[in-house]
């Protein structure tokens, strides 16, 4: 069972890689829309990749009201 920190680290690795942002510039409480410079459609793309990574299904609404990596990780962890 992954810890919340592990889930967050994996999300940050994946996001940095996918959107070509230096990994050391990302931290848990960042607003990922602003930090990655992405729109809501690209955020859905990120969600698809996170589904593949964690092997869970994440409905679009899991992004509702979520802007930082920590909250996103909490939503994912609850479904793992």
């Amino acid at each position: 069972m992954r810890t919340l920190e592990q889930v967050m680290d994996e999300i940050l690795d994946l996001a940095a890689n996918h959107f070509t942002v230096p990994r050391n510039e990302l931290s848990y409480d960042d607003d990922f829309f602003k930090k990655l410079g992405i729109d809501s459609l690209q955020a859905l793309d990120l969600l698809t990749r996170l589904e593949q990574r964690f092997g869970v299904e994440l409905p679009d609404y899991e992004l509702q009201g979520v802007t930082d990596f920590r909250a996103l990780a909490e939503r994912i962890k609850a479904r793992i």
């Binding site: 829309f33 809501s40 859905l44 679009d60 609404y61 009201g65």
Partner: protein
């Protein structure tokens, strides 16, 4: 379709539609590759009546307001039907707004009932509830068993037996209150009447008639005026099928076209452009000889469809392209923002007609629509039947403010007589948009009278709101503008935000300043970013209270600067 002239209210038209089309497929609920639900019009009624009855037994009726806050799904339409059956007023709320904003609009709209999805309700409850609301009943859909509902009732409990009483309304009564600007500033609740909707529906279906067998893919939020009309009222009165997809991810939308043999769909320019990008990438990956053949066929199709769309022919010529869209696509509707002509032309040349239009919630959705006879990518089409459009105080080129008159124009802004009086004068709705009619009666859009842009995703952005991101920038003064507010040109590309910089005396706009500017810009959401800057070396004109006179500054710059030279990319 039903003869809408016979009906006094939306509720009575929809009630007849459920009977008239009882064996036709009404709704398909899809979730990725699954299909959890398929309802005929009869089954829709069987689901709606217990809710109508439940609301009736708790005193809901006669002009009572009920808010609906859900993603696109069957319960949205079932709830809307129940509200209208009981003579109520629907307050559709945008599920994309933050919980705090949703709570503010709920309080402003004085809704007594709220029907809401569980995850949205949870977010509202967690963010401090709904201060100042008039709510007496909250129904929550999709709530997990044993979930804490903060005083609300689960949807499943809201069933009552027996035929529900129908409450009719007059044409002049309010049918809905739709908020046309979501975030910040004063809430603009457009009060739309039964007459507004019935007349708009009559007008749109005269150009694009739906029928049983039409399968409409609904992905724009149903709370938005376009989907409410084209993805609910229109299909229902014509016996068509509405397909809801519980995800907006492009890969599932693509699949849905073939899986559900979609015939029509509405979208915003941003999504249309994404589809275009995907197709162009696929075309580019074809072997050279197939690419050459495709070019040839597209050219041929363009020539043969110059006067009007010829679907059967296009499907034959460009079979593979059409197969990727399920093979039965008849038309895409695009609105909510300006669409680039090249994108419209790209689809039309493939034999996929895109009917673009111009409209605003205040005018009950659409004002003009491209009727495709012939297709004109450089305009937003002709005025809809029954609607009047006038260009106020046209300049030498015929460009002036667009004003709209007719039975689709809203009644008023809720609780805001001042704004209503400013916006509707002598029965004419002042849109704040600039336009001109060409010789063939097609409307061309120019910049906006207001310093505002509408993004490709259909969001209204006010440059004034963005300025806080640049506060304390080391310049003497700065201001953010919509470029088309300064230089009024026909819209032919996406709209652009720019920042005007007045450097400190003797100072220049150097690399360091630009880096600072770019870094602040990156922190803004993408649709709020400025894409260029202008250097202006004079003091900005200001009011006595030292506010920038934006219009005066814009006029000065427009007169003295050439856009192509003055705007430098950021």
């Amino acid at each position: 379709m039903l003869d809408l002239r016979r009906y006094a209210s939306l509720g009575s038209a929809l009630r007849d539609a459920l009977e008239r089309w009882s064996d036709e497929i009404c709704l398909v609920e899809a979730d990725r590759d699954r299909e959890p639900q398929r309802l005929t019009y009869r089954q829709f009624r069987e689901r709606a009546f217990p809710l109508c009855r439940f609301m009736q037994e708790r005193g809901f009726g006669d002009g009572d307001r009920a808010a609906v806050l859900m993603t696109n799904q069957s319960k949205w339409l079932i709830s809307a039907y129940a509200i209208l059956h009981r003579g109520g007023v629907i307050v559709p709320l945008d599920y994309k707004l933050s919980a705090v904003e949703q709570a503010q609009l709920l309080a402003h709209g004085r809704a007594k009932w709220l029907i809401v999805e569980y995850h949205l309700w949870r977010a509202i409850a967690q963010s401090g509830g709904i201060p100042g609301s008039a709510l007496t009943h909250v129904l929550v859909t999709e709530a997990p068993a044993n979930a804490e509902l903060a005083g609300a009732l689960p949807w499943e409990a809201c069933q009552a037996k027996g035929e529900p009483g129908f409450v009719d309304r007059t044409r002049a009564d309010a049918a809905s209150i739709v908020y046309s600007s979501g975030t910040g500033g004063r809430p603009k609740g457009c009060v739309l009447t039964h007459d507004n909707y019935l007349e708009q529906c009559r007008s749109l279906t005269s150009l694009f008639p739906f029928r049983p067998g039409v399968r409409y893919l609904s992905i724009l939020p149903t709370n938005h005026a376009i989907d409410f009309m084209v993805g609910f009222i229109g299909p229902f009165v014509c016996g068509a099928t509405v397909v809801h997809l519980r995800t907006l991810r492009p890969e599932f939308i693509r699949e849905a076209f073939s899986r559900h043999r979609i015939t029509h769909m509405s979208l915003v320019p941003l999504v249309l452009k994404n589809l275009e990008k995907g197709l162009r990438t696929r075309f580019a990956a074809l072997p050279a000889h197939r690419r050459a053949l495709l070019r040839l066929l597209v050219g041929l199709n363009r020539r043969l469809t110059r006067r009007r769309p010829r679907l059967a022919l296009s499907r034959l010529l460009l079979r593979d392209v059409h197969r990727a869209f399920g093979g039965e696509l008849e038309a895409l509707f695009v609105g909510g923002a300006f669409t680039e002509p090249s994108t419209l032309q790209f689809f039309y040349d493939l034999g996929i007609p895109v009917a673009n239009g111009y409209g605003l919630t205040e005018a009950g959705t659409a004002v003009t629509l491209n009727d495709l006879n012939p297709f004109r990518s450089d305009t937003v089409g002709k005025t809809l039947p029954g609607t009047g459009v006038r260009i106020l105080e046209p300049d030498a080129e015929g460009v002036g403010e667009i004003a709209v008159h007719g039975r689709t124009v809203m009644s008023h802004y809720l609780n805001d007589p001042e704004l209503t009086a400013e916006t509707i004068r002598d029965g004419w709705l002042l849109t704040g948009d600039l336009g001109r009619f060409d010789d063939s009666g097609h409307l061309q859009l120019f910049g906006r009278k207001k310093n505002m842009i509408v993004t490709e995703g259909g969001k209204n952005v006010y440059p004034e709101d963005i300025e806080t991101a640049f506060e304390s920038l080391p310049v003497k003064e700065f201001s953010v503008f919509a470029a088309n507010y300064i230089w009024r040109v026909q819209l032919s590309t996406a709209e652009q935000l720019i920042i005007v910089l007045h450097p400190d005396s003797g100072g220049e706009v150097g690399e360091k300043l630009l880096e600072d500017l770019a870094a602040r810009n990156r922190r803004l959401p993408d649709f709020k970013r400025v894409s260029g800057y202008v250097v202006w070396k004079e003091d900005f004109p200001r009011t006595a209270s030292l506010k920038i006179k934006r219009q005066a500054l814009a006029e000065l710059m427009g007169r003295r600067l050439d856009r192509a030279e003055a705007v430098r990319p950021l």
